[in-house]
């Protein structure tokens, strides 16, 4: 039986070893789940197969023959097609143009779109029940919503008639009925002998669709299992390892919620958010749960004044405030560790020192203008020591750091501002286990000092470990609140998938 085997994949990004001899084997006609926690290397492995990433070492075999994949076109040549986690649609092109991009039919360079348009129309017809109205082949892609884009990305790849198909988080933004259609189409493909690699954070999707599953962790293979012979608990155990077991509630006493909230938000409206209200008390960690992309990040940036949002009322320790921009929020004692560290949190080409200093630079400067080199160095050094950030020199560019240490730099710059409220957007994404624990310790330290924390996390284990309360968001609304001992991994998963209502579990 034909199969695609990829073995011995090594890949290092700067200081981070993303993959250490990982492997994956997909047979014709099977759906093969690829599972692992965030930052375990799933996407990198997929991109190696797709030709988008140059591995340090890898052996790829198709039907027992060695393959060389130097770019996406080589993969396409062997009919290995991928849906990347990061969509690759071109915003200014139309739906039809995007669906055939790179595979346009042409005679001597001139487009001959007719035959292809028939296929495109057929595909859109197939998708139409779940695609939303008003979307035709000539619609421009840029303004479409994420779910629609993701479906189109899937459609684009299917139109290329793959033999092997990699779906990396291809369902992340999809609604239930869209997922159902995608699954139906995947099953048709496997029936025709296509091998599929399927990556998803939703366990029930994996259990529903996959025949086998390979679990990787920290760039290493953990296991390959037959999905029929396993269950969700087992998969989760394999994915998170002992960490899930070890994760306790910490030593922290539950904070009092009697006094005045340090942050109070009423009726916050923004794009992707509808009428959100919440309170954070001193020393409290309020988690934001639910599937990712349900408005959690928008809620944090909206409060912080970093994205357009209107609130009926925001109060910091009882004082009404209005944040037009992050600067006013910072002045009121807020801090935001943004979700995308590289693009929102760090000046990657600048030094560690400057990254740590940036928020509070003016406070230490003489007359607010001239930098006191010694004060800067002391401040940065104190943070580096306190947070145990592993660095070469303060003058090194922050891009030389590993994910965990880079994230600690983001945290460090905020600690210097001595915030009263810290907004954390997925602070441990792509951070290794050790650094994760250290970041947890930092967060607990903050609460011990009476800081209020809002923590959004894509990692339910993390929420379970840290949060005093979790607000579960769905489509921009708070749909459920879990509190105290109810904040468990199982409950969070259940709430996120909104299966609690049907299952009549405790809430």
């Amino acid at each position: 039986m034909a199969s695609l085997d990829i073995t011995g994949v090594d890949k290092r990004y700067g200081g981070v070893q993303a993959l250490k001899g990982a492997s994956l084997s997909v047979a014709e006609g099977e759906v093969h789940g690829l599972l692992g926690p965030n930052g375990s290397g799933k996407s990198t492995l997929n991109k190696v197969m797709a030709g988008a990433v140059r591995p340090d070492a890898a052996t790829i075999r198709l039907d027992g023959q060695d393959l060389r994949i130097h770019g996406p076109q080589d993969a396409h040549h062997h009919r290995i097609e991928s849906v990347y986690q990061q969509l690759s649609l071109i915003p200014h092109l139309t739906v039809a143009e995007n669906l055939v991009l790179g595979t346009e039919a042409a005679r001597a360079g001139w487009l001959t779109p007719k035959a292809q348009l028939v296929e495109v129309d057929a595909m859109l017809e197939r998708l139409s029940p779940v695609l939303g109205g008003g979307i035709g082949p000539r619609t421009r892609v840029g303004s479409l919503n994420p779910g629609t884009k993701q479906l189109l990305e899937f459609a684009k790849v299917v139109l290329r008639r793959p033999r092997f198909l990699v779906l990396d988080e291809a369902t992340a933004s999809l609604h239930r009925d869209q997922v159902a259609l995608l699954f139906a189409m995947v099953r048709e493909l496997t029936a025709e002998g296509v091998g599929v690699v399927f990556v998803s954070h939703r366990m029930e999707e994996v259990l529903d669709l996959c025949d086998r599953a390979t679990i990787i962790r920290n760039g290493l293979n953990v296991a390959t299992v037959d999905v029929k012979d396993t269950d969700e608990q087992e998969l989760v155990r394999l994915m998170v390892g002992d960490l899930a077991r070890a994760a306790g509630r910490g030593e922290r006493p539950a904070p009092s919620r009697d006094g005045q909230p340090v942050l109070s938000v009423r009726g916050l409206q923004a794009e992707g958010l509808a009428d959100v209200s919440l309170d954070v008390h001193p020393g409290e960690i309020v988690g934001l749960g639910g599937l990712q992309g349900q408005g959690q990040s928008e809620l944090l940036t909206g409060i912080f004044g970093a994205s357009p949002a209107q609130a009926e009322r925001i109060e910091v320790a009882g004082d009404p405030v209005e944040f037009r921009n992050p600067r006013s929020a910072i002045a009121a004692g807020l801090a935001l560790v943004p979700g995308d560290r590289a693009s929102e949190g760090l000046y990657s080409v600048r030094s560690i020192q400057e990254n740590i200093s940036t928020v509070t630079l003016g406070r230490r400067a003489r007359a607010g203008l001239v930098i006191d080199a010694r004060a800067e160095k002391e401040a940065a050094t104190s943070q580096v020591d306190a947070l145990r950030i592993k660095i070469g020199a303060l003058a090194d560019a922050v891009s030389t750091l590993s994910g965990g240490n880079a994230q600690k730099v983001v945290v460090a710059k905020w600690l210097l501002s001595e915030p009263r409220i810290v907004l954390l957007d997925d602070p441990t994404k792509g951070v290794d286990v050790g650094a994760k624990a250290e970041i947890y310790a930092i967060i607990r330290d903050l609460t011990a000092q009476g800081v209020g924390v809002i923590l959004n996390s894509s990692d339910d284990v993390e929420l379970a470990e840290l949060a005093d309360r979790v607000l579960v968001l769905y489509e921009g609304r708070i749909v459920q609140e879990l509190e105290g001992t109810d904040v468990t991994h199982d409950n969070l998963v259940a709430a996120a998938l909104r299966i609690s209502d049907d299952d009549t579990k405790e809430s």
Binding site: H70, P338, S343, E344, L346, Y347, S348, S351, D396
Partner: protein, 329 residues
């Protein structure tokens, strides 16, 4: 820049960092040009000639201060209006000074204010209307040229103050004209300000990542606007010094300086995408360009080959350290 910031620990890696540093490469090229020049046409490397060339480089160097700041501030920052702005600055200065030392100060202040207004318009268009800097400053070039023409009626009048002419043309301490000392002071001051002032660090912050800067409470728009204001102000200052060099002004005095300022910044190792670099590199870049021009003109090479050579040299330098990221990582 790293080589400059860290204490010199003579390890192999440290040396490699220094040798691959654009500033080092540019400086080496500058020295090489002088040495080659001395071999090809003896006298080129003489003290007075080198001082003379440094003096000429100072005009380009001072106009490139603002260009450095603008490019550092990122967002595809570039100021294509520096040449025309410098010309206008010189025209206004000449008209005000009109050959009299008593109006020297006014003759410097007014053009600098005019420059600030031009820079403000550039900055507002770029920061608020979000017009791409390339287009905005290109458009402003036409406007500034129009202002110069309307202001002069087509014939620039006036003359530099003798003190200004003396500063540029008379040799002072160590036979070095005053303008070179002015430039040295500016090199130290600008480099220091970029590295040691809140405003300087904020420029780097804005240039390396505007989203992160905004989320860290750095006022992005204000910094961008200030960068363009600085650019026009330094352009005018450069124009005024050029006026000192020529004593009288003419309508296209500094027009040709625009693209060389950009080239000096890039040769000096400042990233075209912003956030990395500094003024010391630009100053050396200005020296490289000026030395090269001088060498080519003394070598009796025809204009055509001189143009080709300077293009090729720029390409080679860029190829050494100005390359962009690969798609497949």
């Amino acid at each position: 820049m790293t080589a400059m910031q860290s204490p010199a620990a003579p390890t192999a890696a440290r040396w490699r960092a220094i040798v691959t540093d654009p500033i080092f490469i540019a400086a080496a090229v500058a020295v090489a040009i002088v040495l080659v020049g001395q071999l090809v046409s003896p006298g080129f490397g003489a003290y007075s000639q080198v001082v003379g060339m440094v003096r000429v480089a100072s005009f380009l160097g001072i106009m490139a201060i603002g260009q450095t700041i603008v490019i550092l501030s990122g967002g595809d920052g570039i100021d294509l209006s520096v040449g025309k702005t410098a010309t206008l600055g010189a025209i206004v200065a000449a008209r005000i000074m009109d050959g009299s030392d008593s109006r020297l100060l006014l003759g410097i202040l007014v053009p600098v204010l005019v420059g600030a207004v031009i820079g403000l318009v550039n900055g507002l268009g770029i920061a608020y209307l979000r017009i791409p800097p390339f287009v905005m400053t290109l458009g402003m070039t036409g406007v500034v040229a129009g202002i110069a023409l309307a202001y002069t009626g087509g014939a620039a009048a006036g003359r530099s103050a003798p003190a200004l002419t003396g500063l540029v043309n008379n040799r002072g301490l160590f036979d070095v004209p005053g303008v070179v000392y002015v430039w040295i002071v500016l090199i130290v001051a600008v480099t220091w300000l970029l590295r040691r002032s809140v405003a300087g660090w904020n420029i780097y912050a804005v240039g390396s990542n505007r989203v992160a800067a905004n989320l860290s409470g750095v006022p992005v728009r204000r910094n961008v606007i200030m960068a363009y204001v600085a650019s026009s102000v330094f352009a005018c200052l450069g124009g005024i010094l050029l006026l000192g060099y020529t004593e009288s002004v003419f309508l296209n005095l500094a027009d040709s300086y625009t693209l060389p300022t950009v080239a000096a910044v890039i040769i000096g190792g400042t990233l075209a995408s912003g956030g990395v670099g500094g003024y010391l590199g630009t100053a050396i870049g200005a020296l490289v360009l000026t030395f090269l021009t001088s060498l080519l003109s003394t070598m009796n090479m025809p204009e055509s080959w001189r143009t080709i050579t300077s293009g090729v040299v720029l390409l080679v330098l860029l190829g050494m350290y100005g390359r962009q990221r690969k798609l497949r990582t």
